[in-house]
């Protein structure tokens, strides 16, 4: 908490606490506080926070790049959702399907998680809710086969957008990351340039591990966009600052709830205001 009687060091310490508790991370935080030293000193907390917001905005502004315009460039535009377990991939796909349909696009979904119990039935509900067809095979099957089927169907049915769900997987599991590479290869073999968007879904309450996730998924299949979910909680999602700084990946969407409308385009300014 800030008070007018604070010394310069106390101010810096309080700002450090604000940054760290937002999950900004130790390295980005010390870089930001170093940057403060080059600014004219002021006792005004608002002004100090203003400097920090400016520094964070400079990192994030290059990552505010919506997906919508891109979706018209290829047909079918193929999106693959990836990420670790439980972050909100399947739910985000449902929300995306609704968004694209509302824009008048024809959307096909694919149940690429053939591993987890009731994963296929879960995305089936979302397909029904949004009025989209769903490509699925039996539980326990090869996800690459589902991807192959889905791409073939997307082309045959002349859809605008295909969104493929994948099973949650920890970035540290080599065999599962290899499986993801295989799925990408299969898609790419059928449609050059596809998948056009590989969307990494991250949970806003994740700490520094989100940076590892982004690095490893990026290294394995190349991430072209990020969706940050569960920002309706008390977590700030500050870890995307380090990810933006290091990997420069566009942040496409934020998830702000569990219903179909709870997906927003990433707005860097709004995000930074809420962050600190």
């Amino acid at each position: 908490a800030f008070s007018s009687g604070m010394s310069r060091q106390e101010m810096i310490d309080a700002l450090e606490e604000t940054l760290i508790t937002a999950d900004i991370g130790v390295n980005v935080c010390s870089k930001m506080l170093e940057g403060l030293k080059n600014k004219p000193w002021t006792k005004d907390v608002g002004e100090l926070k203003g400097y920090l917001k400016e520094a964070i905005s400079n990192i994030l502004k290059n990552c505010q790049s919506p997906l919508q315009p891109l979706a018209l460039s290829h047909k079918p535009f193929v999106i693959m959702a990836v990420g670790v377990n439980g972050v909100g991939k399947t739910t985000t796909i449902g929300k995306l399907a609704a968004k694209f349909k509302a824009d008048g696009k024809d959307v096909l979904l694919a149940a690429g998680d053939t591993f987890r119990a009731a994963a296929i039935e879960q995305i089936e509900v979302w397909a029904k809710r949004t009025g989209c067809d769903l490509i699925k095979q039996s539980h326990g099957g090869d996800p690459a086969a589902v991807a192959f089927d889905a791409v073939k169907a997307a082309v045959a049915r002349d859809v605008d957008i295909l969104i493929l769900d994948t099973a949650g997987r920890l970035h540290t599991k080599t065999n599962l990351m290899d499986e993801l590479k295989k799925i990408k290869r299969i898609i790419n073999r059928e449609i050059s340039d596809a998948p056009h968007e590989i969307l990494l879904v991250l949970d806003a309450s994740t700490g520094q591990n989100a940076l590892n996730q982004a690095r490893m998924f990026n290294e394995a299949v190349g991430i072209t966009g990020i969706a940050l979910t569960k920002l309706d909680g008390t977590a700030k999602g500050g870890i995307v600052v380090a990810i933006a700084d290091e990997l420069k990946i566009p942040i496409r969407y934020i998830g702000v709830g569990e219903t179909v409308e709870d997906l927003q385009d990433f707005d860097a300014k709004g995000f930074v205001e809420a962050l600190i």
């Binding site: 979302w126 520094q208 591990n209 989100a210 909680g233 569990e258």
Partner: protein
């Protein structure tokens, strides 16, 4: 690693028989840094470092250890004791059925963890009964039922009951009649700041009168872990925590944040996606992992 860094810090202090406030300044900074990098909450780190300082200053360095090793031992011992000293088991009590309520944020691993617990308890000779009380998430009830079949355990299957309160009441009644000795209740993921959903959990607690209320939390949670754990604990008075996805490379500092802020023990850890991937919690192992 932290121990390498600390050994380097203390190398310059060779020949000191005792740890002093002056010579541990640098070491305390390194510990603070390591814990923040490990996602331990800012305030929890502050308190922890203060505790370590008090324990370390004036301490004689044992004959067999270097000052660095002595210091690391103090840090690790303090961390292990906050994490709960030794593995706490489940308190299922005498009169069956023993209801266990599983709660937590969205996607933390509750449904999967219930299946793991059921398999674990079955292997110990108990008769678990799974109760799917998540009526919100698409195919959540089906998910638990499929897992039940996989581990050959019975699950409450009456679709006539539509809300969590009715489901719990009816499942308790059936468990009493059929003689299951343990009830494992799956609840929908929810935010600690969602008042209507948190009060729903309060109602389920009143109906079930559970022997255990287990907060299932993701090991990769960051600074927010103090808020969510404190929130659930304030409303429900949880009896323990289960930390999931420890098979990843998250340092797991959230564990320290949660035990520090709730005073409740971590009872189990999830170490994989399959139904056998659960083990009792060993505080000293997690302490080593957090320190890095």
């Amino acid at each position: 690693s932290l121990s390498d860094r600390l050994n380097l810090v203390f190398k310059k202090l060779k020949g000191h028989g005792r740890l002093s406030e002056a010579n541990i300044q640098e070491a305390l900074k390194d510990v603070r840094m390591a814990l923040l990098e490990a996602d331990v909450n800012f305030k929890v780190v502050k308190d922890f470092v203060e505790k370590v300082k008090i324990k370390a200053v004036g301490k004689d360095v044992l004959e067999s250890l270097t000052p660095g090793q002595q210091f690391i031992k103090i840090v690790k011992d303090e961390l292990t004791s906050i994490l709960g000293g030794e593995a706490a088991g489940l308190n299922l009590g005498a009169k069956p059925p023993a209801p266990i309520m599983v709660v937590g944020l969205q996607g933390s691993g509750k449904t999967t963890t219930i299946a793991k617990l059921a398999k674990y308890l079955k292997a110990k000779g108990r008769t678990p009964y799974l109760v799917p009380a998540d009526v919100y998430r698409p195919a959540a009830i089906l998910q638990l039922r499929k897992l039940a079949k996989e581990i050959n355990v019975d699950a409450f299957e009456d679709d006539a009951f539509k809300n969590p309160q009715e489901i719990c009441k009816e499942a308790l009644r059936i468990a009493g009649i059929k003689g299951y000795d343990t009830l494992l209740v799956d609840t929908a993921g929810r935010l600690h700041i969602d008042e209507p959903l948190m009060s729903e959990l309060k109602q389920l607690k009143e109906i079930l009168k559970p022997r255990e209320i287990l907060f299932v939390a993701d090991a990769m949670t960051g600074q927010d872990a103090v808020n969510t754990a404190a929130g659930f604990n304030a409303v429900l008075d949880i009896t323990g925590v289960i930390l999931t996805k420890l098979d990843g490379d998250a340092r797991g500092g959230a564990a320290l944040s949660m035990t520090a802020v709730t005073g409740k023990p971590i009872k189990f850890v999830g170490i994989g996606e399959k139904v056998d991937a659960i083990e009792p919690f060993y505080p000293d192992r997690l302490a080593g992992r957090i320190l890095g």
